[in-house]
Subunit: 633 residues, 2 copies
């Protein structure tokens, strides 16, 4: 496979490798020829019109191809994906090739107008939207069926011919980024704009949210510390702390929307039209006409999807929830057993044994969460959502409901059925700390160690390669293709969501939770940064305008926490001591306070605008221009 | 004033009087000349470029002008106001003069392409946006100050020079509409499309909502009747009724959004861009640059407005609320006095006397509501909102809060402080029925009677007019200018809102309320129709896409009613009998049920899409086209 296609040679001089395609060893010649031909073919012929070059490795059986594109092709691709860039007049506009001169820093020979992450995103988009025309199967693999509209790359991946596609790291840029991100010890903000340029908006937004959330937790943590230090047990102080927490959590979630709007406006993603997303690569269906765009694309009946959701996914989720509750009851049996054991043989060992059920349960919860996650992904993928956003929403909903119940059911049971505040505090602390340790380990340390080991192995091999001319690139590709794949911000957000639950749901019982959360998040920023830069393959950039369904998830959590905290305060002995004569008055007071707090929350959410005024004006201006443009037509 | 301007004569042949302007008797000649010149002046010179013709009446001192416009001018005006019309391909598009040929039923000589209501709306819009340039005052009236950007018409109105502007009725059309609307006794839907063509979207939408709401109340009324007939007092039946009511009210409010979207899509208003509304005529400020459109227009600091809202309006509203509560306490004193009187001198008279305080209170409530309404209008106008929609929202919010407290405070007091269910039922019935009777009387019967009397007077005068040539027009204008002015759908929605409150807030105590509401609404449809067609001047059409802030108001009411109904059921003796041993259990159960119902409500509101799928697709298609158009630019 050392030959290269003749018509490629003409472009060779400006070929910059951006994306790596790895095919399975022993892939048939005709398949490779067909696939590469489709990639380089003209758009008009249904190709992606990109550049492909085989990578010559030391052992000839590895089939690795480097994909690039001409500068012009990338600019046209930027128009296709609807990138928004800053204009000369400082406004943000959707990039079009014909209006390219009006954009800031645009010059025909300026190849850094599009960031590398954007170029890679464009190439990924084009590759994924390479769809079968009249092919009935992948040439050479009769069992890998194709039908018009099926994404070729997805079929190659599912039939194991295509091992992986990933974007190449840019070693210079990465070094600079690492230095400014976590290279020096400093107190300050993360370089979010640089992270965005290198990793794309989704990841930058996650780090932005993580940072914001950590800062937002600081006041809670600061107020929480004296409660622990002085062992305050006055009910009025608890009420104050809980009330502050509840209102604060509303404020931070509302303010986040504004900060997010400012950031994504600057990045251009706030203006990117998401409703005209192409169907997600995994989406399949018969070729039809999209009623919105009038273009030919796969169509799948919405009723069929509804049936799959309500008749298969929903019952499955319910079954999992039941199983999770069953496991919880086993935990309580274990807990009881440990208590009995402690009573019979009292010793240091037996008092340590008291913590064992909680720790085991925390580990089991983590394992169940991870297994369920795969099932949920499979099911959601099978539901065949047309848009990536719809897929994500359904996946998040499934996972959230399960994780919420799985993590918090035992705490709810302890708090509102057993009424055991001491056990609640102990369980909460054990669950929170165990899950934080497990997560930090599973997320960063383990992959880091695995990768270190691999690098050592690679170094040994390197000696035999010294003679090659393009050694650095081959070495880089070989190193990176063995790195783990970052599967997206999902798990990171989920971790924050559950942490928010631990902090806010029972905040008045365990004010110290916020302190642990802040400490965890500070190390989390560093370990996540390390993980992004050193442990995982570079992920494809993904433009996004907000944290999507997570905003709603966090808001729902903050509503639920109003209810739980009010009940907890109502149950506290200090409050009960005030209402000694009438339990009814106590409950009525608690209910009244709860309703008031909820009302204040909703009014606050209503009164605080989601976008700052200057962003609103800029958006209105663009809408106005778009209307005027339509009029001119 | 019998002379006409020479340059108008050329257009005389196609002059169709659409709008009437009445100036005060004795207005100075120079003012009239200046004003009419501004109206007919070219757009480029800051005029409205309309046609004006003086109406020659029998007594020469009345200054009445008829305003019309050439067909071309109206089409250009339709583009300015952003009318949306149906195209030849059945899609709805914003009308532009250059693309006029693509619209359905468009022909250069087809003067019915725009409905008369639309023409009148355009003329009103142009007149109201006639703004002062370099004039310092209205010529001839040095005390009527003008400054650049001030709406001339508004200044003329406030200084009393301009008595009124109103659109002329179209007798032929009105006759047809009356016949199909309420001319024959029939069971069926109202001719909403015809109402929309004649009166515009705002009024048609009100009648659509009234009809929909009445139909929606029928199931509640049907279920409510047996409770009254059989005097069911079983708690399980009450719980069922209340639960049905609460879920039903959520469903009807969600479904209304969908129906509303279907209707307003057909009428084109769903697509009309509201964010580019011109400032409302009453808005004043110094000339500046609108940051959105880049055009010159009055600008008013948002901070100044906030100060007015929070430092003046808010305290005033609070004062009014306090006053309303004070009046309520007087009512309870009266009630007590009546009870004491009844106990001392028991007789038929004294038992009738028991109802008197409630009736007096109901009348006082109505009077207070009406007085407060004027104050709220004055204040909101003084707050100087830039957009009509913002003005309306603030006005509605002010009035709603006051009316809610004014109408329902006594009921809340009876229910949750006095715990007197019998008095609650009696008060509720008295308030509901009294307010319905008062409203029907004040809204329709009184103006109808006044207008009948006026017509008789007119007929007498008519004998002396027989010699005039254009008698019908003069007669029509004279008749219509004396008719009352319809001040908008505000009061009508408010009435429905309060009715919804009476029906839903305490529905489990008085299931018959829904029956009264349905009966009232059926007569309301007819009396409102009569009022629109015969009692009031024709109102200007006002395009609108939804019922705006009223949707939120109704939804809030339905949330509040979940809370009140749950408490009421919890307080009922039947339910208390079940939980004899533990009052705490009762309250906890009630709280649990309430939270469950609220959760179901929110999930339902979340799951039911606001727009039907086919409307969503059509909207997405237009957005897509607008994006493509911007790309082409």
């Amino acid at each position: 496979m050392a030959e290269s296609w003749s018509f490629l040679d003409t472009f060779e001089h400006d070929f910059r490798p951006l994306v790596v395609i790895e095919l399975a060893k022993g892939t048939k010649e005709e398949t490779i020829e067909w696939f590469t031909k489709r990639i380089v073919d003209k758009k008009a012929n249904g190709g992606a019109q990109l550049l492909v070059k085989p990578l010559v490795t030391e052992n000839g059986d590895e089939l690795i191809y480097l994909v690039g594109a001409s500068h012009l092709r990338l600019l046209l691709g930027a128009e296709t994906v609807g990138l928004v860039k800053e204009c000369n007049d400082n406004s943000m506009r959707t990039f079009t090739y014909s209006s390219r001169k009006t954009f800031k820093d645009f010059a025909d020979d300026n190849h850094s107008f599009l960031t590398v992450a954007e170029c890679q995103y464009i190439i990924k988009h084009e590759l994924e939207n390479l769809r079968a025309k009249d092919e009935k199967m992948i040439p050479g693999y009769p069992q890998a069926k194709l039908y018009p509209g099926k994404s070729i790359v997805r079929r190659l991946l599912t039939s194991g011919i295509l091992v992986q596609i990933f974007p190449l790291h840019d070693r210079e840029e990465l070094k600079k980024l690492r230095h400014s991100w976590y290279g020096r010890v400093k107190v300050g903000y993360q370089p979010l704009d640089e992270i965005r340029c290198y990793f794309g908006e989704t990841i930058a937004l996650y780090f932005g949210f993580l940072e914001y959330f950590t800062f937002a937790l600081v006041p809670m943590a600061v107020i929480g510390i004296p409660y622990y230090v002085f062992a305050w047990e006055d009910y009025d102080k608890y009420v104050m702390f809980a009330t502050f927490n509840l209102l604060w959590s509303t404020v931070i979630l509302e303010v986040w929307k504004r900060i997010c709007a400012i950031m994504t406006y600057r990045w251009g993603t706030l203006l990117m039209k998401r409703q005209f997303e192409e169907p997600r690569p995994g989406f399949h269906g018969v070729l039809g006409i999209n009623p919105v765009t009038g273009r030919e694309e796969p169509v799948y009946s919405s009723i069929k999807r509804q049936i799959r959701i309500y008749l298969v996914s929903l019952p499955f989720v319910c079954l999992c929830l039941y199983f999770s509750l069953y496991v919880m009851m086993i935990y309580f049996d274990l807990e009881q057993w440990a208590l009995d054991y402690h009573e019979v043989n009292e010793s240091t060992f037996s008092s340590l044994m008291l913590f064992v059920p909680s720790i085991i349960y925390a580990v089991v919860i983590e394992i169940m969460n991870r297994i369920y996650r795969y099932a949920a992904e499979f099911l959601t993928s099978w539901e065949n959502h047309r848009l990536e956003s719809s897929y994500q929403n359904h996946l998040v909903l499934k996972v959230l409901v399960f994780n919420f119940l799985n993590c918090f059911a035992s705490l709810f049971y302890i708090a509102f059925v057993l009424f055991d505040m001491k056990l609640l505090r102990q369980s909460l602390a054990t669950l929170l700390i165990t899950s934080q340790i497990l997560n930090q380990f599973a997320e960063s340390l383990l992959p880091y160690w695995l990768q270190k080991r691999h690098k050592k192995r690679m170094k040994k091999r390197m000696c035999s390669l010294k003679t090659e001319t393009d050694l650095p690139l081959v070495e880089q590709v070989n190193l990176e293709k063995e790195m783990g794949t970052y599967v997206g911000t999902f798990d990171d957000y989920l971790e924050l969501f559950l942490q928010f639950g631990y902090v806010s749901l029972f905040s008045c019982v365990y004010p110290l939770a916020a302190v642990f959360a802040v400490l965890n998040n500070i190390t989390e920023i560093y370990s996540d940064a390390l993980k992004m830069c050193r442990v995982y393959k570079r992920p494809f950039a993904e433009p996004t305008a907000n944290i999507g369904v997570w905003q709603l998830a966090f808001e729902t959590m903050s509503v639920i926490s109003v209810v739980t905290n009010c009940i907890l305060i109502g149950m506290s002995p200090q409050v009960n001591a005030v209402f000694t004569d009438s339990k009814t008055d106590l409950i009525l007071t608690v209910a009244l306070v709860e309703h008031l707090l909820l009302a204040i929350k909703f009014i606050m959410a209503f009164v605080i605008p989601d976008k700052p005024r200057h962003i609103q004006i800029k958006l209105a201006k663009l809408e106005f221009e778009s209307l005027e443009a339509l009029k001119q037509q």
